[in-house]
Amino acid sequence: MLFAIVAVPFFSGMLMFLPFSKPVRLWFVLGAAFAHLVFCGCFWRSMPCSEFNEFLTLDPLGLIVLSIISGVFCLIAVYAIGYYVHEQRSNRTFCACLLFLLASMTLVTLCNHLGLLWVALASTTLFAAPLISFHRCPESLEATWKYLLVCSVGVALALMGTFFLAFAGHEVQTLFLSDIINGKILLSGRWLKLAVIFMSVGYGCKMGLAPMHSWKPAAYGQATGMVAALMSSVVTLCSFLAFCRIGQICAKSGLSDFYSSLLFIMGGLSLVIAPVLILGEGGLKRVLAYSSVENMGILVLGLGFGGLGVFAALFHMVNNALSKAVMFLTAGSIAQKYGSTRVSHVRGVVHAYPVTGVFLLIGLFAGTGMFPFATFHSELMVINAAIISRHYGLAALFVASLSLMFIGMTRIIFEMSQGPATAPVLAKQENFWMNVAIALPVLALVILGLWMPAPLEIMLRKAAGLLTPGVV
């Protein structure tokens, strides 16, 4: 079962190189996405057992991330059908890379071996890179280059960290997560600390945390809406999952405090830098990229607070994925209609395209954590966790950062949605498929904001329990 869920998207990706017509490829991607979703649903009914000498194992944490990936990917597949109505170029590489990316992200969630985790995470970078240079202009090439280089180097540091972790074992050297966590081996402190630092910096680079975030605005700004949505909502989650795995190891080896302080530095910096840099931006997608930097900061801070914070971070992980999907997909449909997402080119979206304009405003409120969207609850929970764990300074920083972020995003999004309408250039009408793909996550965010389904809550508690044994 576990092998199949990786194999289905991978081999479908291979099939994309056959000479199909454009619509056939898109429907095929949608089919593969639904097959993936069905597999995922089966895993919720009964947890599959581990495969390949325990290299592949699914735990509650992995299952949650896997479900988010599967769900968001389905949305992207639906959206792509609408998007390609107005797109002339071939979609062979695009569809193939999308499916390969899905396969490697799925593999990340199933890894029980830290070496394999590295291999899977590094390959997500490689499959995402061709997707960014979708438009093949100098700027998008520069963005691709930046992304490829920064993430490859970052991930190389994480590889070094992984090796250090293997060295940390006193007698037995293993990188199997289950062996490390079940206490079969003893880890020496100094090597372990070094490993944790290298891995956090490396995977932090990939996740786009503050000092290493420079690729994010460039890459998300140049990538087309669906790719940016996929990257900001789920590819970053894969790196966050790596952070959770490191957290599991640290909790086991009594290094939680050390790890927390590391997370506070990176998360705090993200919360400071994102709202400062957002003020000078004039492009919607670049603004959303800074919002993504901030949200990544919130996730690692939640993880650092421990206890309730971990639960809050995991819940925010779900909500952030959904809200980023809404925002970037809307940005994508604006880009297709106006040929740009800069404020100077786009005005009065609400008047010209009522549905897209409303989605733009909903995206603003969902992304900045307003009631009744679920992001409101998860952000509140993170603040709560900060106060419970007596990090008053960080709690204050958190609130200040959220408010500044709200101002920064409102400024640009209100300017785009209101005012006299500029004439659209390319697509003249709203597209049904695209709007469906945006409406579904909005609906999910509202439902999650008002009512938490019991199975999800149980699974989130189980996953949080993996990171903070004995607390939840």
């Binding site: 050297q173 990188l175 040929g339």
Partner: protein, 218 residues
């Protein structure tokens, strides 16, 4: 006896990294990188005293073939149409960057001195030399402006990590080792394709990436 060989190859790796930093020409850099990869690839032979199992032999063969033959050729392919093959305006001059690298090597040895390899180390030069290679590769990556030198910098870093990893052979299952090699290889492949596109797009200017105000586009 074997320790001498291991020490010699570790020092050679650092020395070659230094030579890469000192060279102006693209072709020279790539050749030196190929030589460095060959040395790194041979290290397991010395570690195992030439009595390798079939798996180990396979890794050695694949490392050498992919890193020191195929990768350099891909890099040459990426710059095949570039008229000027010399470094343009590095951020730090060659002389100064060599001085900084001397410092970096000292730092690597200082860090390594405070860390003990548990038990299995056959040579106490593996850790400092691999750290030095990583730092030198990083240095190359951040001080050079041409895309291809940045790729070489990344690869030198990767070689440093590999040197370290090879002394760890037992903990890494062969499949994972292959996966890591494959990932690095594909990374170089994709980077080369992007470099190729960059060359086409920026054909008027040399390969230096122009720092423009990033704009949205269709």
């Amino acid at each position: 006896m074997m320790t001498t060989w291991i020490n010699a190859s570790c020092i050679l790796v650092v020395f070659l990294a230094l030579s890469i930093l000192a060279s102006y020409r693209m072709a020279g850099m790539i050749h030196l990188f190929a030589a460095q990869s060959l040395v790194v690839g041979l290290v397991p032979l010395f570690l195992r005293q030439f009595s390798l199992s079939q798996n180990d032999l396979m890794i050695v063969a694949i490392t050498i073939v992919s890193k020191s033959f195929i990768t350099p050729n891909i890099l040459f392919w990426a710059i095949r149409h570039v008229p000027t093959r010399a470094e343009v305006k590095p951020l730090i001059g060659i002389g100064a960057s060599l001085l900084v690298s001397a410092l970096l090597i000292a730092v690597a040895f200082w860090v390594a001195a405070s860390l003990q390899l548990p038990g299995l180390s056959k040579s106490n030069l593996v850790l400092p030399c691999s750290l030095a290679a990583v730092l030198l590769g990083f240095m190359l990556l951040v001080t050079r402006t041409r895309a291809i030198s940045q790729v070489v910098g990344y690869l030198v870093m990767e070689n440093g990590i590999f040197l370290f990893a090879l002394s760890l052979f037992d903990a890494m299952p062969i499949l994972i080792e292959m996966g890591i090699l494959l990932d690095v290889f594909v990374a170089v492949f994709i980077m080369a394709i992007v470099v190729n596109h960059i060359n086409e797009e920026f054909s008027r200017q040399p390969m230096t990436l122009v720092r423009s105000k990033m704009g949205e586009n269709t």
